[in-house]
């Protein structure tokens, strides 16, 4: 991996609309969480608990084997992402990590992993990590943050899952359909604030749909 300063600037999929806020009303705001690192970890057969433990040990953040749970140290989110999968998300800058570092940490945590970068040169048997596979999705996901008094009402226009405080709260996450698109929803705090992750190619349509759902609150003072 090249040094941090060597890498080009990351271009957000939301470029034309990503000023500081996509929506900035008194009681609801939508913004992009830019240039995130998102690493997917998938555990191999029978290695689920060990993989979770290894992730937790490597990051110092709990890693849940139970569905719908996200743990965070305030900077890095370790998010349940399917029966045998987690998504670890952070902004490298905020978390104080070098680019590529998180991937490496997780890869190490998963155990032996074949060297990358020298493909085809050796005929040696290299095993992939013995606990799980680590896949970089940083550029494949767009992160958005929806926050404010009306955030739940905006979500109610776009998703069928129950986000009522009695049913969903900070520390919980869900993979579901939002505005008819696949998304991961994480509740960050009681404001409420939600982090939403959607695949890169759909980012603009997705942001547009959420923005549309906010319009009702535009005129509130």
């Amino acid at each position: 991996m090249p040094d941090k300063q060597d890498l080009p600037v990351r271009v957000s999929p939301l470029l034309p609309s990503n000023g500081d806020f996509i929506v900035d009303y008194k009681n609801v705001r939508l913004s992009e969480r830019k240039a995130l690192t998102a690493i997917q970890v998938l555990s191999f057969n029978g290695k689920h608990a060990d993989a979770a433990a290894a992730i937790a040990a490597a990051l110092g953040i709990k890693c849940s084997t139970r569905p719908g749970i996200v743990n965070s140290d305030g900077k890095t989110q370790v998010c349940w992402n399917g029966p045998n999968s987690w998504l670890v998300v952070c902004s490298d800058a905020e978390a104080g990590r070098a680019p590529g570092e998180l991937f490496k940490v997780l890869q190490d945590a998963m155990g032996e992993l074949g060297a990358t970068g020298d493909l085809g040169t050796t005929g040696d048997l290299v095993t992939t990590g013995n606990l799980g596979a680590v896949v970089d999705q940083s550029h494949g996901r767009c992160g958005l943050r929806l926050s404010g008094l009306h955030a739940r009402r905006v979500m109610a226009k776009n998703t069928a899952i129950d986000l009522h405080p009695r049913a969903f709260g900070p520390g919980q996450c869900a993979m579901t359909s939002v505005a008819h698109m696949n998304a991961t929803v994480i509740q960050v705090d009681d404001t409420p604030t939600y982090d939403l992750f959607v695949i890169r190619s759909l980012a603009r349509s997705f942001a547009h749909a959420i923005e549309h759902a906010c319009h009702e609150f535009e005129s509130e003072q």
Binding site: M1, P2, D6, L7, P8, R10, V11, P13, L15, P16, L42, F44, N45, N84, S85, G114, T116, G117, L119, G120, T121, T122, G123, L125, V126, T127, T128, G132, A133, V135, D136, Q137, S138, H139, G140, R141, A156, K157, T159, A160, I161, D162, H164, R166, A167, H180, M181, I199, R200, S201, L202, R204, S205, A209, H212, H215, E216, F217, E218, S219
Partner: protein, 997 residues
């Protein structure tokens, strides 16, 4: 001026807020709180519409959403809404409404001539005639019928408003905010359940707004306000007014429409016109009340004939006198209240006519005390008048109808009894049952988590409604896990008992032929029911379909039970034997916009964009849809450039030099694990176990039925780490297919995989100078020796981490480079700018297609789900010694034998003419036995700059063995025929020297 029919004081209208509106162009005034119907009545407007078939004058029948007659065109221009019930339109300032289905005017309607021909226009008459000459049906008769039928006119302009869809969950959902619903909601809410209360009216209270009841010593409406205030204070309750629950679906999911802005001239900025709510309640309490049914007598459709409860509602709720002199006709106790309330409002009650011989003694006494005349054992035989009632003829119910008494009146308020609103209960899958004591259907055994209470449950006493509400609310909370506290039931201060005796149809005066309407909107008469039954359409469902009873915009809310009862009489069977027709959503008609929500127009489907999208846009690229993706199709360079100009230029630039194309949309799947190779081996028809690390292989997979499913290249990045690409179209289905087989069939395989389509921007670099170009930016040795055809490696492209593949779709020396998507545009620019001398250019999917045809690579149009590997010339890749998906079924006799359509190349034999996709292949020298002479078709065509002629791929019967034949490509849609030569599908570089160079 105007409003001469207002009462002096009653009603929930705001007499201080005067609203102006027009009906049929004429200006009127009403008050805030009015409906269009009440405002029209206040102004003495009786005639508001024409009926469907006979164009008879029609007035206002009801005061609610069950209205069959008073339907108007509301608003104008793009906001015009035909068939809107005047009884549910909240009046707003500037409202414009027009009558419909009449010409030239409402009071003088030419088509009312139909009325005279009604014996000819009996039920089902159109099935019996208009058959000759045959061509006249579509061309003549149908035109006339279509024009005559239908009601209002639609706007043809796009709707300027928008709609939205929301979801909400709760423990207890209460439908209807009358005494029963309010009690239920409060009880459940007190137990701390999450409660939703919906009511279609702007104000809570249900029938309490229409009636003179008092509860706990207060006026009913005061009690309502108190409960409403309590509910509003609790944060576990959401109250939705102007919201009609219209559908009860599976798994206790219900849907409602909220009329957010219909009571305003235009919606507020940012607000939808209407909203669809999908509710997910634990339990539903149905407190939807009951609907009164009319009596069936001669001319019972005339303006001035109204439901007794509606007359009450107009007086009590809207402060309107629906007439000055009223006859009340009934077969039950309830309408007596109409007589009393109307009397107190200053309306002259000329008579109460009760079909029963012995009405309730207390009621008789009460009428006496008010000096209201009561006729028993009698009923209205007919209403008479010109365009509105001026008198009725009273007949006795004993059949002695010869000498009817004539009573003057301008209002007939009638009650044939009450039907509980069992619609939602029935939609939930339950079967309503007949209750002889109220002569109607009541809820049966619940099939989902719902319960009906109050009038909806057939309990017509206010005290019962209040009590049932409390108990249902309490129970619902308990059933959804909440500890309930005891709640006192409110006390109903005044009400009478309900009692009814059957009167399904009145005798007619002088036994004359009268039109006695059952279904008023669809002009179905009692005689139509008789005729249908006589002709054998004597089950309820056949009756409905033959006569159209219950099929109008009101779905027979007021007519169904009467029709069934008449059919039962006709069949000589009890009513429950006859049964009822099916209740279906929506409970009230719902605008299509509501169901569509805001995913319409440009937002119908989301758009998938690649990282190169903005650059492409700036370049003026013309895009093409590939599923949800937008891909650059070609790049016009100057004004007037056609697609042909572009793709030929782009192809030539590629073949002669080097060019790049965005291939991001291909599916990409990362596969890891000790059993990854074995997994691939089962998915693909070819071998994977021995593929060396650092190598790429082209593979094909079949569906289990043996047809080719998808193709693409897969690379071995490490021993246990593969990277698969799929076609753009099948990216999602291939992933799902892999998950299916891994999770269901082969869970023992230790492999994990996920889509990485989005992580990478894919750029193909093709052309003889592609290596030269890449050498400038890539940090690894890509000489032919170090990086031969079908190699893969990780590298840096300048400062961008990348994966490089040496694969070729174009048939040229080519590479594909993948970079993390946020660097995609940068990589693209760097490739374009890497070498000024080289003049790197770009190409789009059209040139991509040209080159793949020249190279004979099969793609989507050949992989059409009907072709086998053999048909496509891919059988050579298959290893039939191993097991793979689809192997067995691909060996079925007719899939391997002769006569299959197989891939061929085709060359135009006429220099100036190109083949066209979709043309069929015909061999003029062979005459087939079938009608069609088609032996196959053209799947992909292009002009080949390389060959200087039009070429194509096609699927031709036994094509693999027919190279060299001259046949025809025909395009009968345009009367075209083209001579073509069948050839090998690979047009250029069949040995593959270029790609290996």
């Amino acid at each position: 001026m105007g409003q001469q029919f207002r009462t002096s004081s009653s009603g929930q209208i705001d007499r201080g807020r005067i609203l102006s509106f027009t009906f049929d162009g004429k200006p009127y005034q009403g008050y805030e709180g009015d409906t269009l119907a009440s405002a029209l009545l206040a102004n003495g407007v009786r005639l508001v519409g024409r009926s469907f078939k006979y164009h008879r004058p029609r007035g206002i029948q009801t005061a609610g959403s069950e209205e069959p007659n008073a339907i108007v065109e509301l608003r104008t221009g793009p906001r015009k809404e035909p068939n809107t019930r005047a009884t549910t339109i909240e009046l707003f300032d500037g409202l414009v409404a027009n009558s419909q289905n009449r010409w030239p005017s409402l009071s003088f309607d030419i088509m009312s001539i139909n009325n005279l021909f009604s014996p000819l226009l009996s039920a089902g008459f159109y099935y019996k005639t208009f058959m000759w000459p045959p061509s006249f049906w579509t061309n003549v008769y149908e035109h006339v019928i279509r024009r005559a039928a239908g009601l209002g006119k639609a706007s043809t302009e796009p709707d300027p408003d928008f709609y939205e869809q929301c979801h909400e969950h709760c423990d207890v959902l209460v439908v209807g905010a009358g005494p029963a619903g309010l009690s239920a909601a409060l009880a459940a809410a007190r137990a701390e359940a999450r409660v939703i209360l919906v009511d279609e009216h702007p104000r809570l209270g249900g029938s309490l707004n229409d009636e003179n009841y008092s509860i706990n010593g207060k006026a009913g409406s005061e009690w309502v306000d108190e409960i409403h205030a309590q509910l509003e204070e609790m944060d576990n309750v959401r109250v939705f007014t102007r919201t009609t629950l219209f559908g009860y679906y599976d798994h206790n999911v219900v849907a409602a429409i909220e009329k957010v802005s219909d009571h305003m001239p235009v919606p507020h900025q940012g607000h939808p016109r209407q909203r669809m709510w999908t509710f997910y309640p634990g339990r539903v309490v149905i407190a939807t009340g009951a609907t009164e049914r009319p009596l069936v007598f001669g001319n019972n459709d005339m303006p001035g004939v109204m439901l007794a409860s509606a007359a009450r509602a107009y007086v009590n709720r809207y402060g309107v006198k629906p007439g000055r002199r009223a006859v009340i006709a009934t077969n039950n106790n309830d309408a007596y209240r109409t007589a009393i309330d109307l009397h107190h409002a200053g309306i002259n009650i000329t008579a109460v006519v009760d079909s029963r011989i012995q009405p309730d003694a207390a009621l008789v006494e009460e009428l006496e005390s008010l000096s209201i005349r009561l006729l028993t054992g009698s009923t209205v035989g007919s209403a008479e008048g010109h365009q509105q009632v001026s008198y009725v003829q009273i007949v006795t119910t004993q059949g002695d109808t010869l000498d009817p008494e004539r009573i003057d009146c301008d209002l007939v308020a009638c009650s044939g009894g009450w039907n509980p609103n069992v619609h939602l209960h029935s939609q939930s899958g339950a079967k309503p049952v007949y209750d002889d004591s109220i002569l109607s259907f009541v809820p049966g055994k619940s099939r989902q988590s719902e319960v009906s209470v109050g009038a909806a449950n057939g309990s017509f006493s206010l005290q019962d409604c209040l009590a049932q509400g409390v108990s249902a609310g309490t129970q619902a909370a308990r059933q959804t896990g909440f500890k309930s506290r005891k709640m006192a039931v409110a006390r109903a201060d005044n009400e009478g008992d309900y009692a009814i005796e059957a009167l399904w149809i009145s005798p007619t005066p002088y036994n004359k032929n009268y039109k006695q309407f059952v279904d008023q909107q669809n002009d179905v008469k009692a005689s139509d029911v008789v005729l249908a039954s006589q002709e054998g359409f004597d089950s309820v469902e056949l009756l409905k379909r033959y006569t159209t009873q219950g099929m109008a915009t009101d779905q027979g809310k007021t007519s169904n039970v009467n029709a069934l009862a008449l059919l039962a009489c006709q069949r000589g069977e009890p009513l429950p034997e006859v049964g009822i027709t099916t209740f279906r959503p929506p409970y009230v008609p719902v605008a299509m916009g509501v169901f569509a929500g805001h995913t319409v127009g440009y937002d119908f489907m989301p758009v998938r964009r690649t990282a190169i999208h903005d650059w492409n846009t700036k370049q003026g690229a013309v895009f093409i849809e590939a599923g949800l993706w937008l891909r650059a199709r070609y790049y016009p360079q100057q004004p007037g450039d056609t697609m042909n100009d572009c793709y030929i230029r782009e192809t030539e630039a590629t073949r002669n030099n080097v060019a790049i194309v965005d291939v991001t949309s291909l599916g990409k799947i990362d596969i890891q694990g000790p059993d990854a190779a074995e997994f691939l081996n089962r998915l693909y028809i070819n071998n994977w176990l021995k593929l060396p690390v650092g190598k790429v292989r082209y593979g094909a997979m079949l569906r289990e039925d043996g047809m080719v499913f998808d193709d693409g290249t897969t690379s071995r990045l490490e021993e246990n780490h593969f990277f698969m690409t799929t076609t753009t179209a099948n990216a999602a289905s291939v992933l799902a297919h892999m998950e299916q087989y891994h999770q269901i069939e082969w869970p023992e395989l230790d492999v994990v995989f996920c889509s990485v389509t989005e992580q990478w921007t894919g750029i193909a670099v093709a052309g003889p100078n592609s290596r030269k170009l890449l050498e400038q930016v890539i940090d690894i040795d890509i000489s032919n020796e170090a990086f031969p055809f079908m190699s893969v490696g990780e590298c840096m492209m300048n400062n961008i981490p990348a994966r490089l593949f040496r694969i070729s779709f174009s048939g040229e020396l080519a590479y594909e480079i993948n970079v993390p998507a946020d660097y995609g545009e940068q990589a693209w620019l760097e490739l374009l700018e890497a070498d000024e001398e080289l003049e790197v250019s770009v190409y789009g999917t059209e040139a991509l297609g040209t080159m793949r045809i020249e190279k004979g690579h099969v793609a989507g149009s050949e992989l059409d789900g009907r072709t086998t590997a053999q048909d496509l010339g891919l059988e050579g890749m298959a290893n039939r010694a191993k097991h793979f998906i689809g192997k067995h079924n691909s060996e079925r006799p007719l899939l391997v034998g002769e006569g299959r359509l197989q891939v061929v190349g085709l060359k135009s034999l006429e220099p100036e003419r190109n083949l066209r996709i979709g043309a069929h292949l015909v061999d003029p020298s062979v005459k087939l036995e079938t009608v069609s002479q088609s032996q196959g078709h053209v799947t992909a065509t292009t002009y080949s700059p390389q060959l200087g002629c039009g070429i194509a791929l096609g699927l031709l019967r036994d094509g693999a063995s027919r190279h060299g034949e001259q046949i025809e490509a025909v395009f009968p849609l345009d009367d075209e025929t083209l001579k073509v030569e069948v050839c090998h599908p690979v047009f250029i570089d069949p040995e593959g020297e270029l790609v290996r160079a």
